[in-house]
Subunit: 204 residues, 2 copies
């Protein structure tokens, strides 16, 4: 599993000639790092007298962020695997009409999967913005910049994952599917405004 | 060294109660991942007939990106260590006047270092934007989204590192130093426009 590679080993593999892992996995890692920073701010808040009032809320955020950190680590592999599925389908034999049809169908199936995985990453990364906003506003103010960094990493994860959805949608023939996914992408389209709003809450 | 931790181990440590590593190290990792993606696009370009004309340029970019990938991995530790230096200085004894003076001086020295390290990360991450722009424009177009993801990761690294500079500048008394650093930060202030320009080069 990619999450078992060292930072050194993972970035080396990412930089290599192999197309996998690629930008989608980088998006998932970015989201995992974002969730970690949110988690750290809650950990620096819980147990402090000054933040007694928000303790329960911070504990709840901590649990969600911890789960997301691990979820996104798995997504690093899931995205890489989904892309690999497409490349394998393209290599299927195409000598007979039957083979051609099987190959075509398989490619379409794998392309859909390779769009759905980063779409899920984008949606989940978008959710971290809510958590980041809360820790920036209510968490330990000594760690406020960590919440801001988390915000930018989530925004980057959302947009990066969406690029990976779009690039796959181009080759998908099922118009209903494309329409549905496009609609779901549109629901995340205010991610830049969301980021700006959170960054604007802190004067530095 | 932090770069020897697994992705799983690093994100867990980042999310923990310990204030180090924090947002500055996350910025360095983000920059390293960005450099890796630039490197990957060059690797997917070099040796392809279609991109024969840009082969030499891509090889040059590959070498720079590879060096930067490793440089930023070291910065993950450097940033964490520089912040630790500040926390250690704050724990120095302050019982006598002499101790107070020594402590004050040491804190100022460590704060300066903790501003200079992320400033260097920000400047170097800013340079990746040039490389990302080139691979997006001239590199293998099948990997164009990887160049766009690299662009957003660099932008996030620059702004994240700058937050870590600013938070340390607040407590630095040396006005000349603050002025100089502020001037150098201003030179990176068009990073959002730079990002927008590169993203705008590709229609998806």
């Amino acid at each position: 599993m990619l999450q078992e590679l060292t930072l050194k080993g993972f970035t080396k593999k990412l930089g290599s000639k192999a197309p996998m892992p690629g930008g989608g996995s980088a998006a998932a890692l970015s989201a995992s790092v974002s969730a970690s920073l949110v988690e750290m701010v809650t950990n620096l808040t819980v147990g402090k007298k000054k933040y007694k009032e928000v303790e329960q809320e911070m504990e709840e955020i901590r649990n969600i962020a911890e789960n997301m950190r691990n979820k996104f680590l798995n997504d690093i592999d899931r995205d890489s695997d989904s892309y690999e599925g497409v490349t394998i389908a393209f290599k299927l034999p195409k000598d007979t009409e039957e083979e051609k049809n099987i190959r075509k169908e398989k490619i379409q199936k794998e392309l859909k999967n390779a769009a759905l995985v980063p779409l899920e990453i984008a949606k989940d990364a978008y959710k971290i913005l809510d958590l980041a906003e809360k820790v920036v506003l209510k968490g330990n103010q000594n760690a406020v910049t960590d919440g801001l960094v988390a915000t930018m990493l989530s925004r980057t994860a959302v947009l990066s994952a969406l690029y990976n959805v779009k690039i796959n949608l181009i080759s998908i023939k099922d118009e209903e599917f494309v329409k549905k996914i496009t609609f779901e992408m549109d629901e995340l389209s205010d991610v830049n405004e969301r980021e700006n709003k959170i960054l604007g809450m802190v004067e530095l």
